[in-house]
């Protein structure tokens, strides 16, 4: 695994907010029936979390689970554990109709940090960032590409995009966060 590198290898930029590519992140897509007992049990086993509510995140000591759609979740874990955890989930699901896929390599993760973090997003995504709460997740677009993001800390937003557009998204965020571009609408 020493060969593994993230799309931008930790590139960063300091504007009125800081943009950082966060390196490799374990990610597992789960699909299934959220009400199914085996599904819930499997989720608990691999992430320590219950199924999150609509457009929300749940955290535990061993991982984070992100609501993606009515039948899809995203489990966050350490990058080097992702394959093992995926296989564990597949085994636990057994014959239950479901899916567990390691998608860690298909993504790039960024954070925006600072007071203006929400305004950076509000320039690129049609989302009410003033009302966007901690632990809320939104699947939307950043300019012309799909993206998901959530507020990971009071002044920090975590963004997940497809790996192939990492450079585009980094350039977008740099442009939106460039000094002089503060809007002063979202406090």
């Amino acid at each position: 695994m020493s060969n593994a590198v993230s799309a931008l290898e930790g590139a960063s930029y300091q504007g009125f907010a800081q943009v950082r590519e966060m390196g490799l992140q374990g990610m597992i897509t789960l699909r299934g029936d959220f009400d199914n007992a085996i599904f819930k049990k499997t989720l608990k086993l691999i992430s320590g979390c219950n199924v999150p509510a609509l457009r929300e995140l749940n955290h535990s000591k061993s991982g984070t689970v992100v609501w993606m759609s009515p039948d899809e979740l995203l489990v966050l874990c350490a990058y080097d554990k992702a394959q093992v955890v995926t296989e564990k989930a597949v085994k636990q699901f057994a014959k239950t109709h479901s899916m567990a896929v390691n998608v860690s390599d298909a993504r790039a993760v960024f954070t925006i940090t600072g007071n203006g973090a929400r305004e950076v997003i509000a320039k690129l995504a049609p989302v009410d960032m003033a009302a966007f709460k901690k632990n809320e997740i939104r699947r939307t677009r950043l300019a012309q590409v799909p993206a998901a993001f959530w507020v990971s800390d009071d002044d920090q937003i975590t963004i997940v995009v497809f790996r192939s557009v990492a450079q585009y998204v980094f350039d977008l965020l740099k442009t939106a966060a460039a000094k002089g571009g503060e809007v002063g609408f979202i406090y």
Binding site: A4, S98, K123, V165, G180
Partner: protein, 1003 residues
């Protein structure tokens, strides 16, 4: 002459002088000036030329409604044409040039149009179309093209940056006059989230200019206090320099913020487009004064009375030393009074009304101003500047005239509420007889998703004409907007102001009433486009009844100002000519934006590097480092070839093909779509999606498949691998992954929602490398870790394993006809794996190849390419792919469509190979010629080229094409047309040019 008056100018900062240039001449103004006021301060009244007749034009207004004074602004990478001087804030170093004239502003050859104006009547453009064709092409078009256009197009790329901003509010209020401010206060006090925007840099609108008294104090004082209150409210945001540009469905509105137009050297974005979602929108957009139509009303120095007042009060400008006011209402007197009080001469107020006894008129008389009642201006003297007016009786023909010397005419034709934003999304209007204007009908607002109104007007935009009623109306608007947005309004006090008793205005659309034709031909309605009263009357005589048709026929209101001054006057003249009431004629449609907004603001951040996303594979940097010439494939950037040294692209491609066929080629195939389809019903699902059978594929095996749309047309192809009993991995084309993923989800969510299937797009999870050529197995064996022998991993098989320490999945598939492995590794290790292959493969002649080599090799093998052989009208049967269409299956997507008579016709063009007799390369897309011509006199055709290349393997041109009855005509020579009219002979052959038996790929 116009000049600056000491001690006046509420917006000026006289401590900060500003230097700027106009037509190369250096002039000076003050911070707080607009370009218009600064030019006037320098006695520069002549600012441009009109569009059609090139007549001399001065500024006529003081705000967004200005039709005349447009300039080429800035230089080089900051050049922008058609900028209104009235809305351009002055800054140090501003450069402006007048436009639409040659050789210069003072002497313009184009003014000749003015003297031939009788040959350029309404509908000129349409009428010239009626002449013989040659006349348009050789006579009129060159003339029109030469004279068309106002400003120049920029020649350099824009150097500034732009952005969008998404804002969500309960109440958006457009307009920062006292109505907008009062409405913001009322809405804000309810707790609603309020955004108040004002297009200029200053709050207060007209009230502060006209010296209104609010709550017993000057409007300016009330304004400062109220703005402070708003600033202190957390739920209220107030912003200047944002224009409400448009109102759209469901409370969506656009705000156009001009951040650095007045300070171009700052590091902020130049413009920001606010994309606002509001539960309720209040338009407090004010009103625009109407011009009056009298002969010569376009001569520089004739201005709106309110503009004359604005220049005086806001910027300390005396537009003229002697100003004649002409009016049909009381408001014009405010200008006369203000001028007189500033010590300027007002020789007369010409009032079309017979007897004027209002308070304002009495004030004017008390100041010694002469009022000429029942009179009209019949003519204006002067060319590039007013020198006097001829006054006649209103109820006459304009015959007997008395001349009054003056250098400025201030005209007031009454006020029209700015109803644009109200109307953008369907708000309806009422004709208000008393004020001769259209005002919003509050009972018929634009409607939201539940049939609720979502726009409310406030202040004079509602038709409230006096300060007291403006404030009450605005307060009510603010409260009802907050209520509609779900907030309980607080009972708060409304600011009070006394309404001034006024005398009713007299609608006067032509001065004098019975003006003779030669006078009507000099009465301008649309100043920018040169549309006159006579043009509208001519259109009516020629049968135009609809206001929309008349607009397009005469070009009334079609200029960059969109008829802000000309609309009402034009349709009043039209109504009169048609002998009908104005409401019967109606208005033209109001469309966004309110005034033109920059292309940069519309594009936002999408320019330069981030104009469009470019998708990069994990191996992208290697390609860039090896001089790859990149081509777009969907949004992917893929290497077309890797030229070395002085190589041409063709030489590089030839080298790459030969090396792959003879030794070892490496292709970055990461862009290939990869969809996992899993579930008990996965096999059944894929049987519906693909034309061939997938459910009987054995785990560990691969099968090539075709996908059709429900109309039978081929939309995608690729290799499917069965992973286990429940799981398939479907490869799609590089450009097709997202589309096919969406296609699968759509069928699963809408049609076969009860089938147990999940799909995941894992395209980007894997880097995929094609290891191709006679030495392919050798390099993999050298890397070691798994058995890749023919027996262990046969053609069309796949296996998981380890190669050189990498976790891999190896597919034995070939798109080139050579021994070939496509190897998937986790994307994060893609680059390392690629490097390892090159290192290990060096001794076997490993060399990267690009998409062009890929295309040539697949064409040599007769493999089709989605997008080359298909174009959305091709079915698999056209391509000889019947072998991949299951006869056993009851159904698949496209099956029924393919049974339709035209789809099953034997006369559909069929895929064949094509070999030119002279070995040359057929032009791409060339048509095969048939005998005779069709009904349009075009040559009949019998086929076309779909793929064509020079084959380095066969040393000749090879092609594939679709030809009528092609497979039955093997060996026949047909002709293909070149663009230059010559033809090329080509023989119809089998489409597989290379290793038809498939021996090479199956070793």
């Amino acid at each position: 002459m116009s000049n600056r008056i000491d001690g006046m100018g509420r917006l000026l900062n006289r401590d900060t002088p500003v230097s700027f240039t106009f037509n190369g001449k250096t002039l000076s103004g003050y911070q707080g000036d607009t370009l218009a006021s600064a030019l006037l301060a320098n006695d520069q009244m002549l600012m441009g030329r009109s569009f059609k007749y090139h007549r001399a034009r001065g500024v006529v207004a003081s705000g967004a409604e200005e039709p005349n004074a447009l300039v080429n602004m800035g230089e080089g990478a900051r050049f922008e044409p058609n900028q209104r001087v009235t809305t351009t804030e002055l800054f140090d170093g501003l450069t402006a040039k007048s436009q639409n004239h040659w050789p210069n502003l003072n002497f313009d050859v184009g003014v000749i149009n003015n003297y031939v104006s009788k040959f350029l009547p309404a509908g000129f453009y349409y009428k010239t179309f009626m002449f013989p064709r040659f006349a348009w092409k050789h006579v009129f078009e060159p003339i029109v093209r030469h004279s068309a256009g106002l400003g120049k197009p920029p020649t350099e790329a824009d150097t500034d940056r732009y952005e969008h901003f998404y804002a969500f509010v309960d109440v958006l209020i457009v307009g920062g006059g006292i109505a907008g401010v009062q409405a913001a206060l009322a809405a804000g006090q309810s707790g609603a989230k309020v955004l108040l925007v004002e297009q200029t840099a200053h709050w207060g609108g007209r009230a502060v200019v006209d010296g209104a008294i609010i709550d017993g104090k000057p409007a300016e004082e009330w304004l400062i206090e109220t703005l402070q209150t708003l600033e202190n409210m957390d739920n209220v945001t107030i912003r200047t320099r944002i224009m409400g540009a448009g109102v759209y469905d469901h409370g969506y509105a656009l705000g156009y913020e001009r951040i650095t137009d007045h300070a171009p050297e700052t590091n902020a974005p130049r413009h920001r487009l606010w994309r606002i979602r509001a539960k309720q929108i209040i338009t407090a957009t004010g009103a625009i004064e109407r011009p009056l139509s009298f002969a010569g009303n376009d001569i520089p120095g004739v201005m709106l009375a309110s503009a004359v007042r604005d220049y005086l009060v806001n910027w300390g400008i005396a537009v003229g030393q002697r100003t004649v006011v002409v009016t049909n209402n009381d408001d014009g007197y405010r200008t006369a009074i203000a001028l007189k009080q500033a010590g300027l001469e007002v020789p007369a107020v010409i009032d079309v009304r017979e007897q004027v006894q209002s308070n304002l008129a009495k004030q004017a008389r008390a100041l010694g101003i002469e009022i000429r009642e029942g009179r009209a201006i019949a003519s204006v003297k002067g060319g590039k500047r007013v020198t006097g007016v001829g006054v006649s009786i209103m109820q006459g023909t304009g015959g007997a005239q008395e001349e009054i010397k003056c250098d400025c005419v201030a005209m007031s034709g009454g006020w029209s509420p700015v109803v644009h934003l109200w109307s953008h999304c369907g708000g309806k209007l009422n004709w208000i007889e008393e004020h001769a204007h259209f005002a919003p009908d509050p009972k018929r607002p634009p409607l939201g998703d539940e049939g609720q109104g979502f726009v409310i007007t406030a202040g004079i935009a509602s038709g409230a004409m006096e300060t007291g009623t403006v404030l009450q109306n605005a307060d009510a608007a603010g409260k009802s907007a907050a209520k509609a947005a779900g907030f309980a309004s607080k009972r708060t006090r409304v600011a009070k102001a006394d309404d001034v008793a006024t005398q009713v205005m007299l609608p006067a659309w032509i001065l004098p009433t019975n003006a003779l034709p030669e006078l009507r031909a000099k009465m301008w309605l649309d100043f920018q486009n040169d549309v006159k009263v006579s043009d509208i009357q001519l259109a009516a005589r020629e049968g135009y009844e609809s206001v929309e048709h008349t607009k397009r026929y005469t070009t009334l209101g079609m200029a960059t100002d969109q008829g802000k001054l000309s609309n009402i006057n034009g349709l009043a003249v039209l109504s009169d000519a048609l002998g009908q009431e104005i409401p019967q004629t109606g208005t033209t449609t109001f469309r966004p934006p309110y005034t033109p907004i920059s292309m940069g603001a519309i594009a936002g951040e999408a320019r330069g590097e981030i104009f469009q996303p470019l998708r990069q594979t994990p191996i992208h940097q290697w390609h860039v480092g090896h001089n790859a010439y990149m081509e777009p494939v969907g949004l992917w950037h893929r290497p077309y070839c890797y030229p070395r040294g002085e190589e041409t692209h063709q030489e590089a491609v030839t080298r790459e093909v030969n090396n792959t066929r003879q030794k070892l080629g490496l292709l970055d195939a990461s862009t290939l779509g990869k969809l996992i389809v899993k579930g008990p019903d996965a096999g059944k699902f894929l049987d519906m999606l693909y034309t061939n059978m997938m459910s009987n594929l054995k785990p560990g095996r691969c099968r090539y498949g075709l996908m059709c749309s429900e109309n039978g047309f081929l939309v995608d192809d690729g290799v499917v691998a069965r992973i286990d009993e429940d799981t398939f991995l479907c490869h799609t084309t590089s450009g097709g992954a997202e589309r096919i993923h969406g296609w699968m989800e759509e069928w699963l969510q809408t049609e076969w929602w009860d089938w147990q299937v999940y799909v995941a797009n894992v395209t980007e999870q894997f880097a995929q490398v094609a290891v191709v050529g006679p030495n392919a197995r050798k390099v993999l064996e050298k890397l070691g870790g798994m058995d890749v022998s023919k027996d262990a991993l046969s053609f069309m098989g796949w296996a998981d394993g380890i190669l050189g320490g990498f976790d891999v999945r190896v597919y034995r598939i070939s798109f080139s006809g050579e021994l070939s492995y496509e190897i998937a590794v986790p994307a994060s290790q893609g680059r390392a794996f690629w490097d390892a292959l090159h290192a290990a493969g060096a001794e076997f002649g490993a060399m990267a190849y690009g998409t062009e080599a890929l295309h040539i090799m697949r064409a040599e093998k007769g493999f089709i390419m989605i997008g080359d052989e298909t174009d959305g009208t091709i079915i698999p049967q056209d391509l000889g792919l019947n072998w991949a269409i299951s006869k056993k299956k009851d159904d698949f997507l496209g099956k029924r469509a393919q049974q339709r008579s035209h789809m099953a016709s034997k006369d559909r063009w069929q895929l064949v190979g094509l070999e030119t007799l002279d070995g040359s390369v057929l032009p791409d897309g060339a048509y095969a010629l048939a005998e005779g011509e069709n009904a349009n006199g075009q040559r009949n055709t019998q086929g076309r080229v779909t793929s064509t290349y020079h084959s380095p393997t066969l040393f000749r041109g090879i092609a594939m094409g679709l030809v009528l009855h092609g497979p039955d005509r093997m060996g026949e020579v047909i002709e293909f047309g070149n663009i230059d009219g010559t033809t090329i002979s080509a023989k119809i052959v089998d489409p597989v040019f290379y290793d038809k038996e498939g021996i090479k790929q199956n070793v």
